[in-house]
């Protein structure tokens, strides 16, 4: 319900020389849902805690709406947070936990009951309202913690690993309901997660972090189709991008196998390439078509090593010239292991990266 702007924000802990968060800038629009995505230690939680006010900002400014909040206490920032460790008040019933901040603001009783009822229906915790937190399972406590944050009217909502403990069947439903709720109420939201599927399912834009640095901040489509560097390319997607060392040829690129031999070539324009020596080639598994016959694609012969049918899609492991390639097929694509099949690689699904810096050079040939 407010904009949230981070301007060159850094965090250094104690006498550490390393920056845990290193010059992160991002501008989050009013009502936008963003995810801070990365593995543990990448700086995502530190960033969230600085926004919440639990950590000092070493340098840079954080603005919520028009207000610089660097020196405000957490309680003065008007943010709601769901903690990874739940942080529920054990002596209070679930209902009182959820209503806690509303009670503090002297919200009328009827209004409180209505809102607690709505949020607990959404998160499927209605039957738990009169229980005490210690008697709940981890997943249930996590939902209560989420409800306690979402029931509020705050300028920004901060959710730290909000769904890590939920059983998979419930997770899909709650993701969708929460996203519905957040867009309907135009809630400015920052979600911290290490799970790229969760980040992509929930957010309008995703900030990928590694080693304290913001690697890329873009829409899920940007991350998939235009990854800024090798780190993002190998982090996003399930299965993640196929990445191989490669080399430039006269009319395109060639992919090298583990022994450094040419495995297969992909013809295409490589205009911006001449200055680079080391090269990595990335091919998204979801775009590779097993069976051939795709216009605008390079077709090579591959041996099927394994073929895993997963219900609504399939994963196919291929060996092409000694390179191990994963392709995602639709639910009818299950070529038998051992067979040799044509494999189409669309030119626009090929990404080139600089080996030394990891930065993307070109998306599509």
């Amino acid at each position: 319900m407010s904009t949230l702007i981070l301007d060159d924000v850094s965090k250094i802990y104690g006498k550490d020389t390393r920056r845990s968060v290193d010059g992160v800038s991002m501008s989050i629009k009013d009502g936008e849902i963003i995810a801070l995505l990365g593995s543990s230690g990448c700086g995502k939680t530190s960033t969230l805690r600085m926004i919440a006010g639990f950590e000092d900002v070493t340098s840079g400014t954080i603005r919520i709406g028009d207000k610089v909040v660097n020196d405000l206490k957490p309680s003065e920032r008007d943010v709601a947070m769901a903690f990874e460790g739940y942080a529920l008040y054990p002596p209070l019933r679930v209902r009182e936990n959820i209503a806690f901040s509303l009670l503090k603001n002297r919200t009328p009783r009827a209004e409180i009951d209505k809102r607690v009822g709505a949020v607990s229906d959404m998160l499927e915790i209605g039957p738990l309202l009169d229980k005490y937190p210690p008697s709940l399972s981890g997943g249930q406590q996590q939902r209560v913690s989420l409800a306690r944050a979402m029931v509020r009217n705050a300028s920004a909502f901060l959710l730290d690993e909000p769904m890590s403990q939920l059983e998979p069947q419930l997770r899909a439903l709650l993701r969708a309901r929460i996203k519905d709720h957040m867009t309907a109420h135009r809630m400015t939201t920052v979600i911290v997660t290490h799970d790229q599927t969760e980040a992509i399912a929930l957010s309008d834009r995703v900030a990928v972090m590694d080693k304290g640095l913001l690697q890329q901040f873009g829409t899920p489509d940007d991350l998939r189709e235009r990854p800024a560097n090798l780190f993002v390319a190998s982090f996003i997607g399930e299965p993640p991008m196929n990445i191989f060392p490669g080399a430039r040829t006269e009319n395109g690129v060639v992919v090298l196998n583990e022994r450094g031999e040419a495995a297969f070539g992909i013809a295409g324009a490589t205009g911006g390439l001449s200055a680079h020596d080391g090269l990595h080639v990335g091919i998204r598994p979801h775009r590779i078509h097993v069976g051939g016959g795709v216009p605008g694609a390079e077709t090579v012969q591959g041996e099927v090593l394994s073929s895993h049918w997963l219900g609504d899609h399939s994963h196919i492991g291929l060996s092409v010239g000694g390179c191990f390639l994963i392709a995602v097929g639709d639910r009818d694509a299950t070529p038998p292991a051992g067979s040799v099949v044509p494999v189409s690689i669309p030119r626009d699904a090929v990404h080139l990266f600089d080996s030394a810096s990891g930065a993307a050079i070109q998306h599509g040939l």
Partner: protein, 360 residues
């Protein structure tokens, strides 16, 4: 003749019966995946087979002989653990060589076999390292090498890919079956990831509520689930389970009439199971389709997953394959929700009894 057979096995902890009258058999060279939600008793089952835990009742037979009362070290069984269980004070080499040392294999022969296993799993360059110096992927490979080095007749794998990163997980998923098939190893593999179960298993044993609900090929488990409960365990997003009432020649689902072509359940009411990929969403009105609004779009890899809400409040998941965006660019912020029509593919639907959830 089955190789491993479990005969009416039961085990209780403090009056809580974790495993109840469990029986199954695994053929030589078969890859059986035991799949179930957490807390279903999968780990206890592995421990019963390994001999670390003794059953209250029932027998374990391996290669025709009763091993129920044998100590773990007397059973020709190897195991790899979710937490790797590498001996922290021994190098990777000594970890892998441990079963050979127990079997009193000579030093030269031991070195040869450890190196061979390490090469197969591509960890031959880290053999001198202590476990703490290995990455999670290398730890898992070391643990696997240790379980393979003595060429056991039965291999138990306890969710071995849970703690490794996505890249290694995919590599191993594809590599593991080839590695094991080449050695004709019999495998019991435990996981709580349905995709892993479907990808790896010759058969999947679905463990829930202390017993096996279904033991079948991945295809049968997915396409012909024995119950609504099993159907919900496979698929992401999970299957839609919609109350359906017989109405003339068709069915009434989510307050809409839908036509039935062919096999119809001969019951007045039942639960209709429709997988999200069998729900076709269109922005244009179509006959026999349920009017809905699109509440949320939550992309899953390249698939567009949509939560639909019918006029009577019923929630329906739909999942469209890559390249078909019903709502390009996702939903706008605010309360406005686009109107759409959802057609359920009846020919691919499942019908379950309302009360018991059993397949009709």
């Amino acid at each position: 003749m089955s190789f491993l057979s479990i005969d009416r096995l039961s085990k209780s902890y403090r009056k809580n019966e974790v495993i109840r009258d469990l029986s199954f058999a695994v053929d030589r060279g078969e890859f059986l995946v035991v799949f179930g939600p957490s807390g279903a008793g999968k780990t206890v089952l592995l421990r019963l087979i390994a001999g670390m835990v003794r059953p209250d009742r029932g027998r374990v037979l391996l290669g025709g002989s009763d091993i129920t009362d044998d100590n773990p070290e007397q059973r020709d069984i190897a195991m790899a653990f979710q937490n790797f269980a590498l001996y922290p004070h021994m190098s990777a080499f000594d970890n892998i060589g441990s079963p050979l040392r127990a079997a009193k294999v000579g030093e030269a022969e031991r070195r040869r076999r450890v190196e061979e296993a390490a090469k197969l799993l591509r960890i031959d360059h880290v053999l001198g390292h202590l476990p703490r110096a290995l990455s999670n992927g290398q730890k898992q490979r070391t643990a696997l090498a240790r379980s393979l080095v003595s060429e056991p007749s039965l291999l138990l794998l306890d969710d071995p890919l849970r703690n490794v990163d996505a890249k290694v997980r995919y590599e191993m998923r594809l590599e593991l079956p080839r590695l094991l098939r080449a050695r004709d190893t019999t495998v019991v593999y435990v996981t709580q990831d349905y995709k892993e179960a479907m990808a790896l298993g010759d058969r999947i044993a679905v463990l829930a509520d202390g017993g096996f609900q279904q033991i079948d090929t991945p295809e049968r488990v997915y396409n012909a689930p024995a119950s609504a409960r099993i159907a919900r365990l496979f698929g992401d997003p999970p299957i839609n389970l919609l109350p359906a009432v017989r109405s003339g020649a068709g069915l009434r689902v989510a307050s809409s009439e839908i036509a039935l072509d062919g096999a119809a359940p001969d019951r007045a009411e039942c639960t209709m199971g429709v997988r999200p990929e069998d729900v076709i969403v269109s922005l244009e009105q179509a006959s026999g389709a349920i009017p809905v609004e699109i509440d949320a779009v939550t992309p899953l890899n390249d698939r567009q997953v949509m939560l639909l809400r019918a006029d009577d409040g019923t929630e329906i998941f739909a999942s469209q394959p890559q390249g078909t965006h019903v709502v390009p660019g996702g939903l706008p912020s605010g309360r406005e929700r686009p109107r759409a029509w959802a057609r359920l593919d009846v020919s691919r639907s499942h019908f379950f009894e309302t009360a018991s959830g059993a397949r009709v």
